[in-house]
């Protein structure tokens, strides 16, 4: 009967779904990824995999907006048309709970290059004692700042969010806003940024996540203090319209010299400090994100490659993943694309890679490693309900930022909705 309901779901989706690739032959592997520098780089060198293994890789890189529909259709229908799937760590718990992924513990353990993968991102895919994906990317939160403007104003780089408020007040003017941050609602948008402030003030999502107490605890004095700072920064010291900014708008504002500070993921930061893309790259400095009374908590985002439970060619898929995260492949992509977020450790030893990113910014790779060391794995909770929880919290936070509700009401509403989602 469950299959019947799944079939009904597919029937409602299938007519409007984009054309799915046909089931792969045994010497082919179908890969579905969403667009980012690594995935585009992988697509560009797909022929290398065929030359090495004799297996043809059909790599489909699609927009993140259609990705969710595309994979849901494939997974619920067990259509077998995807052999390797882009697996963000914030989704993996949900997919595992739904039975959509194949455990790849044996395959990973058999890979000679396994120990070359950074342990933190690797273990982010360890659930119930099994591995469910191999990471290819770990982005961390960093802060960019305009050295020239801070020097001219005689101001230091803020170490805490409290100091950020003071510096922002001193440097904000009509021509150059003090700061831009992601504010648009979404678990990958404002909920990528806000927890950096929240955790710096000792705020948390649940009473005791580590020990399994998932009683919602977002409506706390610590989180309120953090939210008030986030709101103040966006409403008083950010460019006009910042309440709807996503990473693209933050990136553009920094590259065009419209802001002094940006706190962003390393993927965006690498573009802000890249002289080929940014008018003010040479004047831009890098630092860890500000901290607070509870320390510093840079954001972290991990992406990997998994094998759907319904994959027709899991063996070929495992070979593809091994190739895709190998030192040689990742080095090629890192040199060809703006991709400093690799999780294959030895890539960082490559002289060409070091030279490329040192040229972009001398502190970049060092700070990225520092930020990853400081970041906590469950920066965003690793539970199946997180996509729904993150969206609900993000929408209420955004409503508070844009004055549609008070910060107190936003946190109270978020906590109630968390309870509803977890209890429903």
């Amino acid at each position: 009967m469950k299959n019947l309901l799944a079939t009904a779901f597919i029937a409602t989706l299938v007519v409007g779904a984009p054309c799915a690739p046909a089931i792969a032959q045994s010497d082919e592997v179908n890969v579905v990824l969403f667009g980012m520098p690594y995935t585009r780089g992988l697509q560009a060198i797909a022929d290398d995999f065929e030359a090495e293994s004799g297996i043809k890789a059909n790599i489909d890189v699609i927009g993140q907006d259609v990705f969710e529909n595309r994979i849901t259709l494939s997974f619920t229908g067990a259509t077998g048309d995807i052999d390797v799937v882009h697996t963000p760590v914030i989704q993996v718990q949900r997919w595992v709970a739904a039975g959509w992924l194949k455990p790849i513990t044996e395959e990973v353990d058999a890979m000679p290059g396994k120990d070359d993968i950074l342990a933190g991102p690797l273990d982010a895919y360890l659930i119930n004692g099994e591995r469910w994906a191999l990471p290819f990317m770990a982005g961390a939160g960093l802060m960019t700042y305009r050295k020239d403007l801070l020097d001219a104003a005689g101001l230091d780089v803020p170490e805490t969010w409290e100091e950020m408020l003071e510096v922002a007040a001193a440097i904000h003017n009509e021509d150059t806003a003090a700061i831009a941050l992601r504010a648009v609602p979404g678990q990958g948008f404002n909920m990528f940024i806000f927890p950096m402030i929240m955790r710096a003030y000792g705020g948390k999502f649940f009473e005791d996540y580590v020990n399994g107490d998932l009683t919602p605890a977002i409506n706390s004095p610590e989180n309120l203090e953090a939210l008030n700072i986030y709101i103040k920064l966006l409403n008083e010291y950010a460019p006009q319209g910042a309440g709807n900014f996503n990473f693209a708008e933050v990136n553009a504002a920094a590259q065009n010299g419209q802001i002094v500070f940006a706190v962003e993921g390393t993927g965006v930061v690498s573009q802000i400090v890249n002289p080929e893309k940014s008018k003010f790259a040479r004047e831009t400095g890098l630092a860890l994100p500000p901290g607070g009374p509870a320390g510093r908590s840079p954001a972290i985002a991990v992406h990997g490659l998994g094998i759907p439970a319904s994959a027709e060619n899991p063996d070929a898929a495992a070979k593809f993943i091994e190739w895709a995260v190998s030192t040689e492949t990742v080095t090629k992509i890192s040199l060809a694309q703006p991709f400093p977020d690799f999780t294959t450790g030895t890539v960082a030893d490559n002289a060409d890679v070091i030279a490329k990113y040192a040229d972009v910014h001398p502190d970049f790779l060092r700070l990225r490693v520092e930020a990853l060391d400081l970041a906590i794995g469950h920066y965003r909770p690793l539970i199946p309900e997180w996509p729904a929880l993150g969206a609900a919290i993000g929408e209420n936070i955004n409503a508070a930022v844009n004055g549609l509700m008070s910060p107190e009401d936003a946190l109270a509403a978020a906590e109630q909705e968390m309870a509803d989602i977890l209890g429903s």
Binding site: L5, F9, A98, G241, L404, I421
Partner: protein, 277 residues
């Protein structure tokens, strides 16, 4: 001869509809599966769902203002283009271009235009010391932005239909009115417009039904924000289905939307029949 049509309707309309209906009575959840609970529980929840009510309001505002703008602008442009003769008639193609641009691309263009730090419009007014408001951070402003983007890409459809209808109106009627001393405005209001009513009703109905499916503009331009203030009903069904994994409830919202569109279509079709007769 009728078999292909029956098969097409069966495959592309009846099967998905039946699937959606079956899901809407179930408790199917993408992660938790099902506890075999069947009934009207999802529809009962719809009645007390404040987010659904808000989404209906958003949908109504976007549809009413969007369709009205598209019909008015489309008609005005069609009337203008109908007067053009000779090789300049090729210029009509220019007005069709917005209709050919994919909706996601349209949304990205308008997102840039409504983002103060990216918009050339804001930059232009800034030269004169004028600050254009930030539309996307208020509910009304964000809905206005979506209506503008939707109108820009869809008015050519209404223009095409009205232009075709205008070309079906005999020029003798206008000439006779001119001989009787009627002004151009009076001729349009009292002769052309009444003859356009069936086409206007049809195009309004088509656009209205299509407008209920608001998604790409919202997804790209506002992500449903600020807060949830631009989450139209179709977007809300997506949120429940794909974000919250609650497929059964998402299907119930979709069924509600389908019934709503069917009722509107029925009444507009009846109105069209009355006008025609």
């Amino acid at each position: 001869m009728i078999v292909p049509a029956v098969l097409a309707v069966g495959l592309f309309a009846i099967v998905p509809l039946a699937g959606m209906l079956a899901l809407s009575f179930s408790d199917y959840h993408l992660i938790r599966g099902t506890n075999w609970k069947y009934g009207f529980h999802n529809f009962a929840r719809l009645i007390s769902d404040q987010r659904l009510l808000n989404s209906i309001y958003v949908m109504a505002v976007l549809s009413i203002f969007g369709v009205a703008a598209q019909v008015v602008i489309g008609t005005a442009v069609a009337v203008g283009l109908n007067k053009i003769v000779g090789k300049w008639r090729l210029g009509r193609v220019l007005f069709l271009l917005p209709y050919a641009v994919p909706h996601v691309a349209v949304a990205l263009i308008w997102l840039s235009l409504f983002t103060p730090t990216l918009s050339p419009i804001n930059a232009f007014f800034n030269l004169f010391g004028i600050t254009v408001p930030a539309f996307l951070t208020t509910q009304n402003g964000a809905m206005f932005a979506i209506v503008v983007a939707d109108t820009w890409t869809n008015f050519p459809f209404t223009m095409l239909i009205i232009l075709a209808a205008l070309q079906g109106i005999s020029t003798e009627l206008e000439e006779a009115a001119a001989l009787d001393g009627a002004t151009r405005v009076n001729t349009f209001i009292f002769i052309t417009l009444p003859l356009l009513v069936p086409a206007l009703l049809m195009v309004t109905l088509f656009r209205f039904i299509d407008s209920l499916k608001h998604f790409p503009m919202i997804f790209v331009i506002t992500k449903g924000g600020p807060g949830r203030s631009t989450q139209a009903t179709n977007f809300y069904a997506y949120v429940q289905t794909f974000q919250n994994s609650n497929v059964a409830y998402g299907a119930a919202i979709a069924v509600f939307l389908f019934v709503f569109a069917a009722v509107i279509s029925f009444y507009v079709a009846r109105l069209n029949q009355r006008v025609s007769s």
